[in-house]
Symmetry: C2
Subunit: 193 residues, 2 copies
Amino acid sequence: MYSQINKNISRYVTFDANELEVFNSLLEYKAVPKKTIMLQEDEMCSFEAFVIKGCVRKYYIDANGFEVILQFAIENAWVSDISFSIYEDKPSRVYIETLEDCEFFLFSPETKEELFTKAPKFERAFRILMQRSLAVTQDRLFNTISKSATEKYLEFLEHYPTLSQRVAQHYIASYLGISAEFLSKVRTKIAKL
Amino acid sequence: MYSQINKNISRYVTFDANELEVFNSLLEYKAVPKKTIMLQEDEMCSFEAFVIKGCVRKYYIDANGFEVILQFAIENAWVSDISFSIYEDKPSRVYIETLEDCEFFLFSPETKEELFTKAPKFERAFRILMQRSLAVTQDRLFNTISKSATEKYLEFLEHYPTLSQRVAQHYIASYLGISAEFLSKVRTKIAKL
DNA sequence: CGCATGCATTGAACTAGGACAAGAAATGAA
DNA sequence: TTCATTTCTTGTCCTAGTTCAATGCATGCG
């Protein structure tokens, strides 16, 4: 049950059995059916979620009512609205929705603090996870600015080979920052090669 | 001399005099003249820099040789290539260049580790800084995808009021993900209102 | 089973922004 | 001060991607 998340958290920092036990004891398990909105704009994001199974999307809604998908999180990924923090008391701008039936391990801000108090080395592990997310997001920003729709789509397929089978195409379009219609045209053009 | 950086690092975590002294003793001061490239593609990024004074840009170069500016860092901001880490041995894809005469405090990976060993609470401060950067980058990604050139430029002016005076316009264009010529047209259109 | 809703495709008309080129203005070095 | 280099502006033409239908396809639900 805990091996997945323990492997994930131990990727850059080594923990002993005792530390992992503390870690596991603070996790809250939760199953959530597909198409459930776990976080809405203006709510406080009260969790940090590790995906054991399933797929979720995290998105903003822009001034014209359009959704922009910031992240797909599948097995072994973390999701939450990090712009929320207990340090700044701002409500969230993001939505988090399950796209499939999901299972999670959840941290609340409180249990996370408890973890850091009981086993400070986790501070380090989460710092490095944060750093990895930042690197990924910066790469994505670079791609969004500098690449054509076709290039972005091909790179998406390479990077997330299973995801194009699992989620609707208009979600992928929204993630790539192009219209659903144009993605369809890109795909037929690619298929003809 | 140290008050700026001490204020910055204490923003979300409180340190005692002793901890700050350890922190300060590990900082390396460095002045760098304008137009100096501090980091190039394929080099290892061996520093994390706090800007005491001046302005730098951090950018990628895309497949067609175009620069894409990821970040302007001015007084009290941090710059480095975080995709580099001592945990993954990958060379950098980014360039960091001073746009003005600059003064920095630098950490090398080694002194940063030394800091964490001597005063583990800094692990927390850097985790939160990382979290803030991620939130900013995600917002920027959202803007890049969902807003028009005009909207992005106006928001830039609001967000970085001094920067438009300090850096060349084609750099701002590159940051916004639009061509320098089009930014010029946007500006004349705005001026006519 | 049939129906309704959501999803993907295709086409036609449109537009935001890009590429290129040429000139004006500003900056800076000798 | 002059010349050179870089930066900014403006115009013309061009294209990648959008918007708005319309149509066919799935898929889930009573």
